[in-house]
């Protein structure tokens, strides 16, 4: 039992570090990584694309993919090592997470050889960014409740409807969309999956301003958008199956969101004072920070256990839901507690406040972490059903045609 890299892993890590040192800016000690911090800055997309090209050229794009997908034929653990190292640098590779992590594997699995050759290399090179058009206003946690229609018209399909929470739609060239092609079929049976050009006529992208004020997501409206039948991935009515391929790969793609944690609380508690001295010497503060620290360490070593499984050729299972479930609430609680310690002046925001305002920022982004990519409630269901094997809930939406499923007063 040890933490150290095997000699091969160590050599790979050294190669990665050399590449990153040469091509990216390292985060300063004590500088807190934040949720998509800086991603909205002007030029960020171009810089991200340029950096992805360098990764591609240096052999760090598609690390564990088979060579005939255009990948490096490496191991999952190499990908993990790369990700660990890149996390110490200021990059915006998350713009490529959906395309490379989720959609290209789907295209490689369900698409034609021609599609694979058309899309995968340019995605790996960073020439284009992809987005995933799944969620809808009426959907939410109930992803399959989507209503965006695709109706056949000769060799084409005509898409009408609305998607929401589309990450990066505003800088994406292409997208993958699940549509309802038969509303009279059962909910999961009437769906069909396509790729499409985000610049096609009738596609309108509107940014969503989040509660934190940032705009990382979009609504995307479809008005008579025509896609050719050759853009279909999988059979008509197979959309749910194809979507599952995309979503299964989400587990590989999803990382923990960086943000302030127990170590930052310790730093904060060194700065703040009560009448007896620095708060770090106050046992009440110590006990609370210790609780966060223990939880963070538990997550860290749980990840090490998963990596070990990967490194032996295993795959991450639904138990990886632990990371997101625990860390999202932890970030919210850490942020709230830090502000509580700062007291009456704790609501101030901006670069002048302790830890450059990282806690206040986290207060506003963390509620989103508990929702995006599977709510706390959905993750607990996944753990209960897929890990513990507990029975599913009673379903009212399984055995009736989709257009007969109750939807309530609000659609």
């Amino acid at each position: 039992m040890d933490f150290s890299d095997s000699p091969d892993e160590a050599a790979y890590r050294a190669k990665v570090r050399a590449f990153l040192d040469a091509n990216a800016e390292k985060r300063k000690p004590g500088e807190v990584a934040g949720y998509r911090r800086g991603q909205d800055a002007p030029g960020a997309v171009d810089a991200a694309k340029a950096f992805q090209r360098k990764k591609y050229e240096a052999g760090f794009a598609g690390i564990p993919w088979p060579k005939d997908w255009g990948g490096q034929g490496g191991t999952p653990i190499q990908q993990v090592i790369y990700n660990q190292e890149e996390a110490n640098y200021k990059t915006h590779s998350n713009m490529f997470t959906i395309g490379l992590g989720m959609l290209m594997p789907t295209i490689c699995t369900w698409g034609t050889q021609a599609q694979r050759e058309q899309f995968v290399p340019q995605a790996l090179r960073g020439d284009v960014i992809w987005c995933q058009l799944f969620s809808e206003p009426a959907g939410g946690s109930d992803l399959a409740a989507l209503r965006t229609r695709a109706e056949r018209d000769g060799d084409h399909w005509v898409i009408n409807g609305q998607k929401i929470w589309t990450s990066g739609a505003h800088y994406s060239s292409y997208g993958c969309i699940v549509t309802r092609t038969d509303p009279t079929a059962l909910k999961h049976a009437g769906l069909t999956y396509f790729w499409l050009d985000m610049k096609a006529p009738g596609v309108e992208v509107r940014p969503i301003k989040q509660a934190s004020g940032a705009k990382h997501f979009n609504e995307v409206f479809f008005t008579n958008v025509r896609v050719h039948d050759s853009q279909r991935l999988g059979g008509v009515g197979d959309g749910w199956k194809v979507s599952i391929t995309t979503l299964m790969n989400e587990r590989y793609a999803a990382g923990e969101t960086p943000g302030p944690d127990a170590n930052e609380l310790i730093e904060l508690a060194r700065i703040l004072h009560n009448e007896n001295g620095p708060l770090i010497d106050d046992t009440a503060v110590q006990e609370k920070i210790a609780e966060f620290y223990v939880r963070s360490q538990g997550l860290r070593f749980t990840k090490f256990r998963t990596m070990t499984r990967l490194s032996r050729g295993g795959t991450p299972g639904p138990e990886s839901s632990i990371g997101k479930l625990v860390s999202a609430s932890k970030q919210q609680d850490v942020a709230a507690y830090a502000m509580d310690l700062m007291g009456a002046a704790g609501s101030l925001t901006g670069a002048d406040v302790p830890m450059a305002g990282a806690f206040e920022e986290a207060l506003m982004w963390s509620p989103g972490l508990r929702i995006a990519g599977g709510t706390d409630e959905v993750l607990r269901n996944i753990i209960a059903e897929r890990v513990l094997g507990l029975p599913g809930d009673v379903r009212l939406d399984k055995d009736v045609p989709f257009n007969k499923v109750p939807t309530g007063p609000k659609r």
Partner: protein, 374 residues
């Protein structure tokens, strides 16, 4: 046993709810969020006209003379409406300080103007992040002059006067009233997690100030804060109730998997827990109101229980309201974040829960055993 508001105050609260339902939907707070402007002046004027600003001020000083329980009743509704007005600063803290410790001259000078809405008041306390230690404040009052700097003063940019906590050589922590338009006062608007309530950093450089002579040291300053905390607890409880009500309403009408999401135990038990937290907080606030109104010796304990309970309930209710709304809860356009921001602001404004828990235990541990066995 009569542990409830008297009927006439229930009627006042019902009236306030009717008024605020009509005039202060969340869109009013959103206007400040999106366009700035410190506070909603139209609403403030109407509150003045209805006598809300002078609710606790005696009629002799231009108030409505309704007493502190009336302020508590109104505070709950103001909290429910997340009204973007300097009510807490002006009424729970500013007017309260003047009434408690001001000279007759101070009362005559300021209270009528506060009651009429002409003067906005606030309390300037914190100087740096962290718990406020009264006897280590750096602001100094001497010879009618104040020097120091205060951080994140709520309504500091729109207030006309501030009650400033400063050290006086003889008394220690004291209260003085300062005209914020006077020479030597500089203010800078600052951003907080709740942009619907404006804040400023204020510095005083040998600024003209008058001592509130009735406050004879830190215990009296604490008493002001305790009294303010009780009234603020009602505002917090109101906000928590509003967040709960919105979550419940959404959970009834939003469907997933062919059923209202409120039929899933994950949602319904979460909201049951929020309900419990809000009710416990309300009960503690009632106790605080009793102590406030009767000037009972239990005030420090009652105020701490009310504040801790209300801050916790506000936090729980508003964050789980976002969660219940799912993605929509996390949009700028949705109102859920307005409640969340306000709850956090109020939960910090008079100090965080950790400070108040310590203070509570400081009180309790000095009690003897028999007094506690009730």
């Amino acid at each position: 046993m009569n542990f409830d508001f008297p009927d006439e105050l229930k009627e006042l609260r019902a009236e306030a709810k009717r008024f605020l339902t009509a005039k202060c939907q969340p869109v009013v707070a959103r206007k400040i969020l999106d366009h700035g402007g410190s506070f909603d002046r139209a609403l403030w004027k109407e509150m003045a006209a209805m006598g809300w600003l002078g609710a606790s001020i005696p009629e002799a000083h231009g108030g409505a003379g309704l007493g502190h329980l009336a302020v508590c009743a109104l505070a709950e509704e103001i909290g429910y409406a997340i009204a973007p007005v300097p009510y807490a600063s002006t009424v729970y803290l500013g007017a309260e300080a003047l009434m408690l410790y001001g000279s007759e001259a101070h009362k005559a000078a300021y209270l009528p103007k506060i009651a009429s809405g002409a003067t906005i008041a606030t309390l300037a306390l914190a100087e740096q992040p962290g718990p406020v230690v009264l006897d280590r404040l750096k602001a100094r009052f001497a010879d009618g002059r104040l020097t120091g700097a205060k951080l994140g003063v709520v309504d500091g940019d729109s207030a006309d006067i501030a009650i400033v906590v400063a050290l006086d050589a003889r008394r220690g922590a004291s209260l003085c009233v300062v005209d914020l338009k006077a020479a030597g006062v500089k203010r800078e608007t600052v951003q907080t997690v709740d942009p619907t309530r404006s804040h400023a950093n204020i510095s005083f450089e040998n600024a003209k100030a008058e001592l509130l002579d009735g406050a004879r040291g830190p215990a009296d300053v604490r008493r002001l804060i305790d009294r303010g905390a009780v009234m603020m607890a009602f505002e917090q409880v109101g906000g928590a109730q509003a967040a709960l009500d919105r979550a419940v309403a959404y959970a009834k009408e939003r469907y997933a998997f062919g059923r209202p999401i409120g039929s899933f135990q994950a949602i319904k038990h979460k909201l049951a827990d929020v309900y419990v937290a809000v009710e416990l907080a309300r009960s503690n606030a009632y106790y605080g109101a009793w102590a406030l109104n009767s000037s009972a010796a239990e005030l420090p304990v009652a105020a701490a229980c009310a504040r801790v309970s209300a801050s916790d309930a506000g936090w729980l209710a508003t964050k789980e309201n976002i969660q219940t709304h799912g993605g929509m809860g996390f949009t700028w356009e949705g109102d859920a974040h307005l409640y969340y921001r306000r709850a956090k602001h109020l939960g910090l404004a008079l100090g965080g829960s950790s400070e108040w828990k310590r203070r509570l235990m400081g009180e309790l541990k000095s009690r003897n055993t028999s007094a506690m066995a009730d």
